[in-house]
Protein backbone atom coordinates (compact mmCIF):
# COMPACT_ATOMS: atom_id res chain seq x y z
CA UNK A 1 0.00 0.00 0.00
CA UNK A 2 2.85 2.39 0.82
CA UNK A 3 4.55 1.89 -2.59
CA UNK A 4 1.14 2.41 -4.20
CA UNK A 5 0.66 5.78 -2.48
CA UNK A 6 4.22 6.84 -3.29
CA UNK A 7 3.77 5.72 -6.91
CA UNK A 8 0.63 7.81 -7.17
CA UNK A 9 2.25 10.90 -5.69
CA UNK A 10 5.10 10.53 -8.21
CA UNK A 11 2.55 10.22 -11.02
CA UNK A 12 0.62 13.24 -9.77
CA UNK A 13 3.83 15.25 -9.44
CA UNK A 14 4.76 14.37 -13.03
CA UNK A 15 1.23 15.39 -14.07
CA UNK A 16 1.87 18.92 -12.81
CA UNK A 17 5.08 19.10 -14.84
CA UNK A 18 3.18 18.04 -17.98
CA UNK A 19 1.66 21.50 -18.07
CA UNK A 20 2.78 23.48 -21.09
CA UNK A 21 4.87 26.39 -19.85
CA UNK A 22 5.32 26.64 -16.13
CA UNK A 23 2.88 27.67 -13.42
CA UNK A 24 4.38 31.14 -13.00
CA UNK A 25 3.96 31.99 -16.64
CA UNK A 26 0.33 30.83 -16.45
CA UNK A 27 -0.27 32.84 -13.27
CA UNK A 28 1.24 36.00 -14.76
CA UNK A 29 -0.20 35.56 -18.23
CA UNK A 30 1.29 38.09 -20.65
CA UNK A 31 1.91 40.63 -17.92
CA UNK A 32 4.98 40.63 -15.74
CA UNK A 33 8.58 41.25 -16.73
CA UNK A 34 11.37 38.71 -16.66
CA UNK A 35 12.49 39.78 -13.19
CA UNK A 36 9.03 39.33 -11.68
CA UNK A 37 8.70 35.92 -13.31
CA UNK A 38 12.11 34.88 -11.97
CA UNK A 39 11.07 36.06 -8.50
CA UNK A 40 7.82 34.09 -8.78
CA UNK A 41 9.72 30.98 -9.82
CA UNK A 42 12.03 31.32 -6.84
CA UNK A 43 9.04 31.84 -4.58
CA UNK A 44 7.37 28.62 -5.77
CA UNK A 45 10.71 26.78 -5.66
CA UNK A 46 10.61 26.01 -9.37
CA UNK A 47 14.29 26.90 -9.75
CA UNK A 48 15.30 23.98 -7.50
CA UNK A 49 16.26 20.50 -8.77
CA UNK A 50 13.32 18.20 -9.61
CA UNK A 51 14.06 15.77 -6.76
CA UNK A 52 13.94 18.62 -4.23
CA UNK A 53 10.73 19.91 -5.78
CA UNK A 54 9.21 16.44 -5.39
CA UNK A 55 10.16 16.23 -1.70
CA UNK A 56 8.70 19.71 -1.13
CA UNK A 57 5.57 18.60 -3.01
CA UNK A 58 5.24 15.63 -0.64
CA UNK A 59 5.70 17.96 2.32
CA UNK A 60 2.93 20.25 1.09
CA UNK A 61 0.66 17.23 0.55
CA UNK A 62 1.37 16.14 4.11
CA UNK A 63 0.27 19.57 5.32
CA UNK A 64 -2.80 19.31 3.05
CA UNK A 65 -1.60 22.37 1.16
CA UNK A 66 -2.89 21.68 -2.34
CA UNK A 67 -1.65 24.84 -4.03
CA UNK A 68 -3.39 27.65 -5.86
CA UNK A 69 -5.82 27.13 -8.74
CA UNK A 70 -4.80 28.33 -12.21
CA UNK A 71 -8.35 28.80 -13.37
CA UNK A 72 -9.35 30.96 -10.40
CA UNK A 73 -6.09 32.78 -9.60
CA UNK A 74 -5.51 33.41 -5.95
CA UNK A 75 -7.98 30.79 -4.81
CA UNK A 76 -6.49 27.85 -2.89
CA UNK A 77 -7.48 24.51 -4.38
CA UNK A 78 -8.39 23.20 -0.95
CA UNK A 79 -11.01 25.93 -0.59
CA UNK A 80 -12.43 25.14 -4.05
CA UNK A 81 -12.78 21.45 -3.30
CA UNK A 82 -13.81 21.45 0.38
CA UNK A 83 -17.54 21.62 -0.29
CA UNK A 84 -17.31 19.46 -3.40
CA UNK A 85 -15.94 16.44 -1.55
CA UNK A 86 -18.72 16.35 1.02
CA UNK A 87 -21.36 16.90 -1.66
CA UNK A 88 -20.11 13.94 -3.69
CA UNK A 89 -19.75 11.76 -0.61
CA UNK A 90 -23.32 12.56 0.39
CA UNK A 91 -24.63 11.74 -3.10
CA UNK A 92 -22.60 8.54 -3.38
CA UNK A 93 -23.53 7.26 0.08
CA UNK A 94 -27.19 8.03 -0.46
CA UNK A 95 -27.22 6.26 -3.83
CA UNK A 96 -25.47 3.14 -2.53
CA UNK A 97 -27.60 2.98 0.64
CA UNK A 98 -30.75 3.13 -1.46
CA UNK A 99 -29.31 0.62 -3.93
CA UNK A 100 -28.65 -1.78 -1.05
CA UNK A 101 -32.04 -1.17 0.55
CA UNK A 102 -33.85 -2.02 -2.71
CA UNK A 103 -31.41 -4.39 -4.40
CA UNK A 104 -30.73 -6.72 -1.49
CA UNK A 105 -34.32 -7.82 -0.77
CA UNK A 106 -35.11 -8.08 -4.49
CA UNK A 107 -31.96 -10.14 -5.09
CA UNK A 108 -32.88 -12.51 -2.24
CA UNK A 109 -36.47 -12.79 -3.44
CA UNK A 110 -35.41 -13.68 -6.97
CA UNK A 111 -33.04 -16.34 -5.61
CA UNK A 112 -35.85 -17.82 -3.52
CA UNK A 113 -38.34 -17.93 -6.39
CA UNK A 114 -36.32 -18.29 -9.59
CA UNK A 115 -38.39 -17.66 -12.70
CA UNK A 116 -41.05 -15.83 -10.71
CA UNK A 117 -42.38 -12.34 -11.31
CA UNK A 118 -39.81 -10.65 -9.05
CA UNK A 119 -36.99 -12.63 -10.67
CA UNK A 120 -38.02 -11.55 -14.15
CA UNK A 121 -38.42 -7.92 -13.05
CA UNK A 122 -35.02 -8.02 -11.34
CA UNK A 123 -33.35 -9.41 -14.45
CA UNK A 124 -34.83 -6.66 -16.57
CA UNK A 125 -33.71 -3.90 -14.19
CA UNK A 126 -30.25 -5.49 -13.98
CA UNK A 127 -29.96 -5.51 -17.74
CA UNK A 128 -31.00 -1.87 -18.05
CA UNK A 129 -28.68 -0.88 -15.22
CA UNK A 130 -25.66 -2.52 -16.80
CA UNK A 131 -26.24 -1.71 -20.48
CA UNK A 132 -27.73 1.78 -20.41
CA UNK A 133 -25.22 4.58 -19.68
CA UNK A 134 -25.78 7.10 -16.87
CA UNK A 135 -26.40 9.98 -19.24
CA UNK A 136 -29.10 8.13 -21.17
CA UNK A 137 -30.90 7.27 -17.93
CA UNK A 138 -30.55 10.91 -16.92
CA UNK A 139 -31.96 12.11 -20.26
CA UNK A 140 -34.99 9.83 -19.97
CA UNK A 141 -35.68 10.84 -16.36
CA UNK A 142 -35.31 14.56 -17.07
CA UNK A 143 -37.55 14.27 -20.10
CA UNK A 144 -40.20 12.41 -18.14
CA UNK A 145 -40.20 13.90 -14.65
CA UNK A 146 -38.90 17.42 -15.25
CA UNK A 147 -40.06 18.41 -18.72
CA UNK A 148 -43.24 16.41 -19.25
CA UNK A 149 -44.62 16.03 -15.73
CA UNK A 150 -42.86 19.04 -14.20
CA UNK A 151 -42.44 17.33 -10.83
CA UNK A 152 -38.72 17.83 -10.38
CA UNK A 153 -36.19 20.53 -11.32
CA UNK A 154 -34.02 19.92 -14.41
CA UNK A 155 -30.84 20.76 -12.56
CA UNK A 156 -29.46 22.79 -9.69
CA UNK A 157 -28.47 22.33 -6.10
CA UNK A 158 -29.47 23.43 -2.64
CA UNK A 159 -32.92 22.03 -2.07
CA UNK A 160 -34.01 18.50 -1.26
CA UNK A 161 -35.84 18.26 -4.62
CA UNK A 162 -32.55 18.68 -6.41
CA UNK A 163 -31.26 15.47 -4.85
CA UNK A 164 -33.85 13.12 -6.30
CA UNK A 165 -32.82 12.74 -9.95
CA UNK A 166 -29.03 12.59 -9.41
CA UNK A 167 -29.45 9.97 -6.69
CA UNK A 168 -31.77 7.85 -8.83
CA UNK A 169 -29.37 8.04 -11.79
CA UNK A 170 -26.38 7.16 -9.61
CA UNK A 171 -28.30 4.37 -7.90
CA UNK A 172 -29.36 2.34 -10.90
CA UNK A 173 -26.09 0.69 -11.90
CA UNK A 174 -24.96 -0.13 -8.32
CA UNK A 175 -28.41 -1.58 -7.69
CA UNK A 176 -28.13 -3.74 -10.81
CA UNK A 177 -24.82 -5.21 -9.65
CA UNK A 178 -26.07 -5.73 -6.08
CA UNK A 179 -29.20 -7.54 -7.29
CA UNK A 180 -27.27 -9.78 -9.65
CA UNK A 181 -24.58 -10.71 -7.14
CA UNK A 182 -27.05 -11.24 -4.29
CA UNK A 183 -29.21 -13.49 -6.45
CA UNK A 184 -26.21 -15.55 -7.53
CA UNK A 185 -24.65 -15.80 -4.05
CA UNK A 186 -27.88 -16.73 -2.28
CA UNK A 187 -28.97 -19.25 -4.90
CA UNK A 188 -25.57 -20.95 -4.70
CA UNK A 189 -25.89 -21.29 -0.93
CA UNK A 190 -29.52 -22.44 -0.93
CA UNK A 191 -28.50 -25.81 -2.44
CA UNK A 192 -25.88 -26.49 0.27
CA UNK A 193 -26.33 -29.37 2.71
CA UNK A 194 -26.50 -27.17 5.80
CA UNK A 195 -29.51 -25.36 4.38
CA UNK A 196 -31.29 -28.70 3.94
CA UNK A 197 -30.33 -29.60 7.52
CA UNK A 198 -31.67 -26.29 8.81
CA UNK A 199 -34.90 -26.87 6.95
CA UNK A 200 -35.12 -30.45 8.23
CA UNK A 201 -34.79 -29.35 11.85
CA UNK A 202 -37.80 -27.11 11.33
CA UNK A 203 -36.25 -23.67 10.89
CA UNK A 204 -38.55 -21.22 9.15
CA UNK A 205 -37.66 -19.74 5.74
CA UNK A 206 -37.00 -16.29 7.23
CA UNK A 207 -34.44 -17.60 9.70
CA UNK A 208 -32.81 -19.76 7.01
CA UNK A 209 -32.30 -16.79 4.73
CA UNK A 210 -31.18 -14.38 7.43
CA UNK A 211 -29.07 -16.65 9.59
CA UNK A 212 -27.63 -19.11 7.10
CA UNK A 213 -27.86 -17.89 3.52
CA UNK A 214 -27.16 -14.18 4.05
CA UNK A 215 -24.33 -14.73 6.52
CA UNK A 216 -22.54 -16.89 4.01
CA UNK A 217 -23.21 -14.50 1.15
CA UNK A 218 -22.17 -11.48 3.23
CA UNK A 219 -18.59 -11.22 1.95
CA UNK A 220 -19.60 -11.33 -1.70
CA UNK A 221 -22.31 -8.77 -1.11
CA UNK A 222 -19.96 -6.48 0.85
CA UNK A 223 -17.44 -6.60 -1.98
CA UNK A 224 -20.14 -5.60 -4.43
CA UNK A 225 -21.33 -2.81 -2.18
CA UNK A 226 -17.76 -1.48 -2.08
CA UNK A 227 -17.54 -1.71 -5.84
CA UNK A 228 -20.89 0.07 -6.02
CA UNK A 229 -19.56 2.96 -3.99
CA UNK A 230 -16.66 3.38 -6.42
CA UNK A 231 -19.14 3.13 -9.31
CA UNK A 232 -21.20 5.89 -7.73
CA UNK A 233 -18.09 8.06 -7.34
CA UNK A 234 -17.05 7.67 -10.98
CA UNK A 235 -20.65 7.94 -12.13
CA UNK A 236 -20.53 11.37 -10.54
CA UNK A 237 -18.37 12.69 -13.42
CA UNK A 238 -21.37 12.50 -15.74
CA UNK A 239 -24.24 12.83 -13.27
CA UNK A 240 -22.94 15.94 -11.53
CA UNK A 241 -22.14 17.56 -14.87
CA UNK A 242 -25.67 16.97 -16.15
CA UNK A 243 -27.49 18.11 -13.03
CA UNK A 244 -25.08 20.97 -12.22
CA UNK A 245 -24.24 19.50 -8.81
CA UNK A 246 -21.22 21.29 -7.30
CA UNK A 247 -19.41 18.05 -6.44
CA UNK A 248 -16.04 16.45 -7.02
CA UNK A 249 -17.07 14.81 -10.29
CA UNK A 250 -17.98 18.09 -11.92
CA UNK A 251 -14.92 19.78 -10.40
CA UNK A 252 -12.75 17.09 -12.01
CA UNK A 253 -14.30 17.43 -15.45
CA UNK A 254 -14.12 21.24 -15.30
CA UNK A 255 -10.52 21.20 -14.09
CA UNK A 256 -9.49 18.87 -16.93
CA UNK A 257 -11.30 20.97 -19.54
CA UNK A 258 -9.65 24.12 -18.13
CA UNK A 259 -6.27 22.39 -17.68
CA UNK A 260 -6.20 23.61 -14.10
CA UNK A 261 -3.23 21.44 -13.10
CA UNK A 262 -3.15 22.10 -9.32
CA UNK A 263 -6.83 21.21 -9.06
CA UNK A 264 -6.33 18.11 -11.23
CA UNK A 265 -3.44 17.03 -8.99
CA UNK A 266 -5.52 17.56 -5.87
CA UNK A 267 -8.50 15.68 -7.29
CA UNK A 268 -6.40 12.69 -8.34
CA UNK A 269 -4.80 12.51 -4.89
CA UNK A 270 -8.23 12.75 -3.24
CA UNK A 271 -9.66 9.96 -5.39
CA UNK A 272 -6.65 7.75 -4.70
CA UNK A 273 -7.01 8.19 -0.95
CA UNK A 274 -10.75 7.68 -1.17
CA UNK A 275 -10.35 4.37 -2.96
CA UNK A 276 -7.53 3.19 -0.69
CA UNK A 277 -9.66 4.01 2.35
CA UNK A 278 -12.58 2.16 0.79
CA UNK A 279 -10.45 -0.96 0.26
CA UNK A 280 -9.12 -0.77 3.80
CA UNK A 281 -12.63 -0.51 5.24
CA UNK A 282 -13.72 -3.47 3.11
CA UNK A 283 -10.78 -5.57 4.33
CA UNK A 284 -11.73 -4.82 7.95
CA UNK A 285 -15.36 -5.57 7.14
CA UNK A 286 -14.42 -9.03 5.80
CA UNK A 287 -12.90 -9.96 9.14
CA UNK A 288 -15.97 -8.71 10.97
CA UNK A 289 -18.40 -10.53 8.65
CA UNK A 290 -16.57 -13.84 8.46
CA UNK A 291 -14.79 -15.19 11.55
CA UNK A 292 -12.67 -17.41 9.29
CA UNK A 293 -10.92 -14.35 7.84
CA UNK A 294 -7.90 -13.42 9.97
CA UNK A 295 -5.15 -10.98 9.13
CA UNK A 296 -1.86 -11.87 10.72
Amino acid sequence: MVPLVLGTTLLVFALGRLAPGDPVQILFGDRGDAAAIARGRAQLGLDRPLAEQYVRFLGRLGRLDLGVSYAYPGKPVGELLAGAVSTSLLLGMLAVTLALAIGLPLGIASALWPGGLIDRLTRFVTLVGIAVPFFVVAAVLVLLFSLRLGWLPVSGWGELRHLVLPVVVLMLRPMAYIMRVTRLAVSQILVEDFIRTARAKGLGPGAIVLRHALRNAAITIATTAGLSLSLAFTGAFVTETIFAVPGMGRATVTAILQRDYPTIQAVVMLYTFLFLALNLILDCLYAALDPRVRYS
Binding site: P3, L4, G7, T8, L11, L15, L18, L127, I130, A131, V132, P133, F134, F135, V136, A139, V140, V142, L143, L147, L184, S187, Q188, S230, F233, T234, F237, V238, T241, I242, T252, V253, I256, L257, R259, I264, V268, Y271, T272, F275, L276
Partner: protein, 277 residues
Protein backbone atom coordinates in the same frame (compact mmCIF):
# COMPACT_ATOMS: atom_id res chain seq x y z
CA UNK B 1 -14.88 -24.74 -33.12
CA UNK B 2 -17.02 -27.85 -33.65
CA UNK B 3 -16.72 -28.60 -29.95
CA UNK B 4 -18.00 -25.14 -29.19
CA UNK B 5 -20.92 -25.60 -31.50
CA UNK B 6 -21.86 -28.92 -29.98
CA UNK B 7 -21.74 -27.53 -26.44
CA UNK B 8 -23.76 -24.50 -27.32
CA UNK B 9 -27.41 -24.41 -26.66
CA UNK B 10 -27.89 -21.18 -28.51
CA UNK B 11 -30.44 -19.15 -26.60
CA UNK B 12 -32.67 -16.55 -28.12
CA UNK B 13 -30.85 -13.70 -26.38
CA UNK B 14 -27.59 -14.50 -28.13
CA UNK B 15 -29.34 -14.79 -31.50
CA UNK B 16 -31.13 -11.50 -30.87
CA UNK B 17 -27.86 -9.87 -29.85
CA UNK B 18 -26.09 -11.03 -32.99
CA UNK B 19 -29.01 -9.86 -35.15
CA UNK B 20 -29.23 -6.38 -33.58
CA UNK B 21 -25.46 -5.98 -33.69
CA UNK B 22 -25.41 -7.07 -37.33
CA UNK B 23 -28.10 -4.57 -38.28
CA UNK B 24 -26.31 -1.74 -36.43
CA UNK B 25 -22.99 -2.54 -38.09
CA UNK B 26 -24.56 -2.79 -41.55
CA UNK B 27 -26.30 0.56 -41.01
CA UNK B 28 -23.15 2.26 -39.79
CA UNK B 29 -21.13 0.97 -42.74
CA UNK B 30 -23.73 1.32 -45.46
CA UNK B 31 -25.56 4.56 -44.68
CA UNK B 32 -22.51 6.87 -44.86
CA UNK B 33 -21.68 5.27 -48.24
CA UNK B 34 -25.09 5.69 -49.87
CA UNK B 35 -26.46 8.72 -48.01
CA UNK B 36 -26.71 11.87 -50.15
CA UNK B 37 -25.82 13.91 -47.06
CA UNK B 38 -22.52 14.46 -45.31
CA UNK B 39 -22.29 14.27 -41.53
CA UNK B 40 -20.90 17.82 -41.35
CA UNK B 41 -22.71 19.93 -43.97
CA UNK B 42 -24.89 22.41 -42.09
CA UNK B 43 -28.18 23.52 -43.63
CA UNK B 44 -29.48 26.34 -41.47
CA UNK B 45 -32.69 26.50 -43.47
CA UNK B 46 -33.45 22.91 -42.46
CA UNK B 47 -32.94 23.10 -38.70
CA UNK B 48 -34.96 20.70 -36.54
CA UNK B 49 -36.63 19.18 -39.59
CA UNK B 50 -39.01 16.37 -38.70
CA UNK B 51 -39.12 12.90 -40.19
CA UNK B 52 -39.58 13.16 -43.95
CA UNK B 53 -38.90 11.38 -47.22
CA UNK B 54 -35.61 13.24 -47.57
CA UNK B 55 -34.51 12.89 -43.94
CA UNK B 56 -35.70 9.56 -42.57
CA UNK B 57 -34.89 10.45 -38.98
CA UNK B 58 -35.18 14.23 -39.39
CA UNK B 59 -32.41 16.82 -39.04
CA UNK B 60 -30.57 18.19 -36.01
CA UNK B 61 -30.10 21.72 -34.61
CA UNK B 62 -27.74 22.61 -37.45
CA UNK B 63 -29.83 21.04 -40.18
CA UNK B 64 -27.64 17.96 -40.56
CA UNK B 65 -29.24 14.64 -41.51
CA UNK B 66 -29.70 12.69 -38.28
CA UNK B 67 -29.63 9.21 -39.82
CA UNK B 68 -26.30 9.91 -41.51
CA UNK B 69 -24.86 11.24 -38.27
CA UNK B 70 -26.13 8.37 -36.11
CA UNK B 71 -24.77 5.84 -38.60
CA UNK B 72 -21.41 7.60 -38.99
CA UNK B 73 -21.12 8.04 -35.22
CA UNK B 74 -21.86 4.35 -34.72
CA UNK B 75 -19.14 3.41 -37.18
CA UNK B 76 -16.63 5.56 -35.31
CA UNK B 77 -17.70 4.11 -31.96
CA UNK B 78 -17.34 0.53 -33.23
CA UNK B 79 -14.00 1.31 -34.85
CA UNK B 80 -12.50 3.11 -31.83
CA UNK B 81 -13.78 0.56 -29.30
CA UNK B 82 -12.88 -2.44 -31.46
CA UNK B 83 -9.34 -1.17 -31.95
CA UNK B 84 -8.99 -0.38 -28.25
CA UNK B 85 -10.15 -3.88 -27.28
CA UNK B 86 -7.73 -5.39 -29.81
CA UNK B 87 -4.82 -3.39 -28.39
CA UNK B 88 -5.66 -4.13 -24.77
CA UNK B 89 -6.12 -7.83 -25.54
CA UNK B 90 -2.74 -8.09 -27.28
CA UNK B 91 -0.97 -6.19 -24.49
CA UNK B 92 -2.87 -7.99 -21.73
CA UNK B 93 -2.16 -11.44 -23.18
CA UNK B 94 1.52 -10.66 -23.74
CA UNK B 95 2.03 -9.25 -20.23
CA UNK B 96 -0.07 -12.00 -18.61
CA UNK B 97 1.78 -14.81 -20.39
CA UNK B 98 5.22 -13.36 -19.62
CA UNK B 99 4.36 -12.71 -15.96
CA UNK B 100 2.70 -16.09 -15.44
CA UNK B 101 5.25 -18.19 -17.30
CA UNK B 102 8.49 -16.61 -16.11
CA UNK B 103 7.32 -15.77 -12.58
CA UNK B 104 9.78 -14.34 -10.07
CA UNK B 105 10.87 -10.74 -10.36
CA UNK B 106 9.41 -10.21 -13.82
CA UNK B 107 6.05 -11.31 -12.47
CA UNK B 108 6.30 -9.15 -9.35
CA UNK B 109 7.25 -6.03 -11.30
CA UNK B 110 4.51 -6.47 -13.91
CA UNK B 111 1.87 -7.18 -11.28
CA UNK B 112 2.79 -4.05 -9.26
CA UNK B 113 2.28 -2.13 -12.48
CA UNK B 114 -1.22 -3.58 -12.87
CA UNK B 115 -1.85 -2.71 -9.20
CA UNK B 116 -1.25 0.97 -9.90
CA UNK B 117 -3.49 0.92 -12.99
CA UNK B 118 -6.28 -0.94 -11.20
CA UNK B 119 -6.09 1.37 -8.17
CA UNK B 120 -7.30 4.23 -10.36
CA UNK B 121 -10.98 4.40 -11.20
CA UNK B 122 -10.93 3.62 -14.95
CA UNK B 123 -13.00 6.64 -15.96
CA UNK B 124 -10.66 9.02 -14.11
CA UNK B 125 -7.67 7.52 -15.93
CA UNK B 126 -9.49 7.96 -19.25
CA UNK B 127 -10.42 11.57 -18.48
CA UNK B 128 -6.85 12.39 -17.46
CA UNK B 129 -5.11 10.78 -20.44
CA UNK B 130 -7.41 12.06 -23.19
CA UNK B 131 -8.06 15.37 -21.44
CA UNK B 132 -4.42 16.24 -20.97
CA UNK B 133 -2.86 14.66 -24.07
CA UNK B 134 -5.59 15.96 -26.33
CA UNK B 135 -8.67 14.11 -27.60
CA UNK B 136 -7.39 12.74 -30.90
CA UNK B 137 -8.75 9.39 -32.10
CA UNK B 138 -5.35 7.76 -31.44
CA UNK B 139 -5.19 9.11 -27.89
CA UNK B 140 -8.73 7.93 -27.18
CA UNK B 141 -7.87 4.42 -28.37
CA UNK B 142 -4.65 4.40 -26.34
CA UNK B 143 -6.39 5.70 -23.22
CA UNK B 144 -9.13 3.07 -23.48
CA UNK B 145 -6.54 0.32 -23.95
CA UNK B 146 -4.40 1.70 -21.13
CA UNK B 147 -7.20 1.44 -18.62
CA UNK B 148 -8.29 -1.99 -19.86
CA UNK B 149 -5.17 -4.13 -20.31
CA UNK B 150 -4.40 -4.62 -16.62
CA UNK B 151 -7.37 -6.78 -15.67
CA UNK B 152 -6.91 -8.83 -18.85
CA UNK B 153 -3.25 -9.36 -17.90
CA UNK B 154 -4.29 -10.52 -14.41
CA UNK B 155 -6.65 -13.16 -15.75
CA UNK B 156 -4.24 -14.44 -18.40
CA UNK B 157 -1.46 -14.60 -15.79
CA UNK B 158 -3.64 -16.74 -13.52
CA UNK B 159 -4.24 -19.13 -16.43
CA UNK B 160 -0.55 -19.20 -17.37
CA UNK B 161 0.40 -20.01 -13.77
CA UNK B 162 -1.63 -23.22 -13.84
CA UNK B 163 -0.73 -24.08 -17.43
CA UNK B 164 3.04 -23.97 -16.90
CA UNK B 165 2.87 -26.83 -14.39
CA UNK B 166 1.02 -29.09 -16.84
CA UNK B 167 2.67 -32.17 -18.26
CA UNK B 168 2.65 -31.03 -21.87
CA UNK B 169 4.79 -28.05 -20.95
CA UNK B 170 7.27 -30.32 -19.19
CA UNK B 171 7.16 -32.63 -22.21
CA UNK B 172 7.82 -29.77 -24.61
CA UNK B 173 10.73 -28.64 -22.48
CA UNK B 174 12.11 -32.19 -22.35
CA UNK B 175 12.02 -32.25 -26.15
CA UNK B 176 14.21 -29.17 -26.15
CA UNK B 177 11.64 -26.44 -26.79
CA UNK B 178 12.82 -22.99 -25.77
CA UNK B 179 10.81 -20.69 -23.50
CA UNK B 180 9.75 -18.63 -26.49
CA UNK B 181 8.38 -21.65 -28.33
CA UNK B 182 6.55 -22.93 -25.24
CA UNK B 183 4.92 -19.55 -24.62
CA UNK B 184 4.02 -18.91 -28.23
CA UNK B 185 3.07 -22.42 -29.35
CA UNK B 186 1.67 -24.07 -26.23
CA UNK B 187 0.50 -21.47 -23.73
CA UNK B 188 -0.92 -19.07 -26.30
CA UNK B 189 -2.94 -21.83 -27.95
CA UNK B 190 -4.46 -22.79 -24.61
CA UNK B 191 -5.22 -19.23 -23.64
CA UNK B 192 -6.65 -18.03 -26.96
CA UNK B 193 -10.22 -19.05 -26.09
CA UNK B 194 -10.24 -17.30 -22.74
CA UNK B 195 -8.71 -14.19 -24.26
CA UNK B 196 -11.39 -14.17 -26.98
CA UNK B 197 -14.17 -14.52 -24.41
CA UNK B 198 -12.71 -11.73 -22.30
CA UNK B 199 -12.31 -9.51 -25.36
CA UNK B 200 -15.90 -10.09 -26.47
CA UNK B 201 -17.13 -9.15 -22.99
CA UNK B 202 -14.97 -6.02 -22.99
CA UNK B 203 -16.36 -4.41 -26.15
CA UNK B 204 -19.63 -3.28 -24.56
CA UNK B 205 -18.07 -1.54 -21.54
CA UNK B 206 -15.44 0.06 -23.80
CA UNK B 207 -18.13 1.53 -26.04
CA UNK B 208 -19.81 2.85 -22.88
CA UNK B 209 -16.54 4.46 -21.76
CA UNK B 210 -15.91 5.99 -25.17
CA UNK B 211 -19.39 7.48 -25.35
CA UNK B 212 -19.07 8.80 -21.79
CA UNK B 213 -15.85 10.58 -22.75
CA UNK B 214 -17.49 12.03 -25.84
CA UNK B 215 -20.53 13.05 -23.82
CA UNK B 216 -18.31 15.02 -21.44
CA UNK B 217 -16.61 16.74 -24.38
CA UNK B 218 -13.28 15.02 -23.75
CA UNK B 219 -13.71 12.28 -26.36
CA UNK B 220 -14.43 12.43 -30.07
CA UNK B 221 -14.62 16.09 -31.07
CA UNK B 222 -17.33 17.76 -33.16
CA UNK B 223 -18.13 18.03 -35.99
CA UNK B 224 -17.20 14.33 -36.14
CA UNK B 225 -20.33 12.65 -34.78
CA UNK B 226 -20.32 10.13 -31.94
CA UNK B 227 -23.28 8.86 -30.01
CA UNK B 228 -22.06 10.36 -26.73
CA UNK B 229 -21.43 13.83 -28.19
CA UNK B 230 -24.75 13.78 -30.09
CA UNK B 231 -26.62 13.01 -26.86
CA UNK B 232 -24.79 15.88 -25.15
CA UNK B 233 -25.68 18.27 -28.00
CA UNK B 234 -29.29 17.09 -27.90
CA UNK B 235 -29.52 17.79 -24.16
CA UNK B 236 -29.87 21.52 -24.68
CA UNK B 237 -32.88 20.92 -26.97
CA UNK B 238 -34.40 18.21 -24.79
CA UNK B 239 -37.56 20.18 -24.07
CA UNK B 240 -38.41 21.05 -27.67
CA UNK B 241 -36.76 18.30 -29.73
CA UNK B 242 -36.26 15.18 -27.60
CA UNK B 243 -35.65 13.07 -30.72
CA UNK B 244 -32.14 14.54 -31.04
CA UNK B 245 -31.28 12.91 -27.70
CA UNK B 246 -33.50 9.86 -27.85
CA UNK B 247 -32.35 8.50 -31.24
CA UNK B 248 -28.62 8.27 -30.46
CA UNK B 249 -29.51 7.08 -26.93
CA UNK B 250 -31.52 4.20 -28.33
CA UNK B 251 -28.73 3.31 -30.78
CA UNK B 252 -26.10 3.35 -28.02
CA UNK B 253 -28.18 1.34 -25.55
CA UNK B 254 -29.13 -1.22 -28.21
CA UNK B 255 -25.48 -1.63 -29.20
CA UNK B 256 -24.29 -2.16 -25.63
CA UNK B 257 -27.19 -4.49 -24.85
CA UNK B 258 -26.55 -6.55 -27.99
CA UNK B 259 -22.83 -6.73 -27.22
CA UNK B 260 -23.63 -7.89 -23.68
CA UNK B 261 -25.83 -10.70 -25.02
CA UNK B 262 -23.26 -11.74 -27.61
CA UNK B 263 -20.49 -11.69 -25.00
CA UNK B 264 -22.55 -13.81 -22.59
CA UNK B 265 -23.41 -16.22 -25.38
CA UNK B 266 -19.78 -16.58 -26.42
CA UNK B 267 -18.78 -17.10 -22.78
CA UNK B 268 -21.27 -19.92 -22.41
CA UNK B 269 -20.30 -21.50 -25.71
CA UNK B 270 -16.53 -21.32 -25.33
CA UNK B 271 -15.82 -21.31 -21.61
CA UNK B 272 -17.76 -24.02 -19.79
CA UNK B 273 -16.32 -22.99 -16.41
CA UNK B 274 -18.12 -19.68 -16.54
CA UNK B 275 -21.54 -21.07 -17.39
CA UNK B 276 -24.40 -19.19 -15.87
CA UNK B 277 -26.26 -21.10 -13.23
Amino acid sequence: MSVARRRTHIDSRTVGGVAVLGVLIVISVLVPLVSPYSYRTQRLDEMFGGVSGQHWLGTDHLGRDLLTRVAYGGGISFLVSGTAVLVQTVVGVAVGLIAGYFGGRTDAALMRLTDVILAFPPLLLLLLVTGLLGPTLLNIVLALALSGWASMARQIRAEALTLRTRDFVAAARALGATDGVIVRRHLLANIATIAMVRASLDVGPVILSESTLSFLGIGIQPPTPSWGAMIAEGFSHLRTHPALTVIPSVALSLAVLALTFVGDGLTEALDPRQRRR
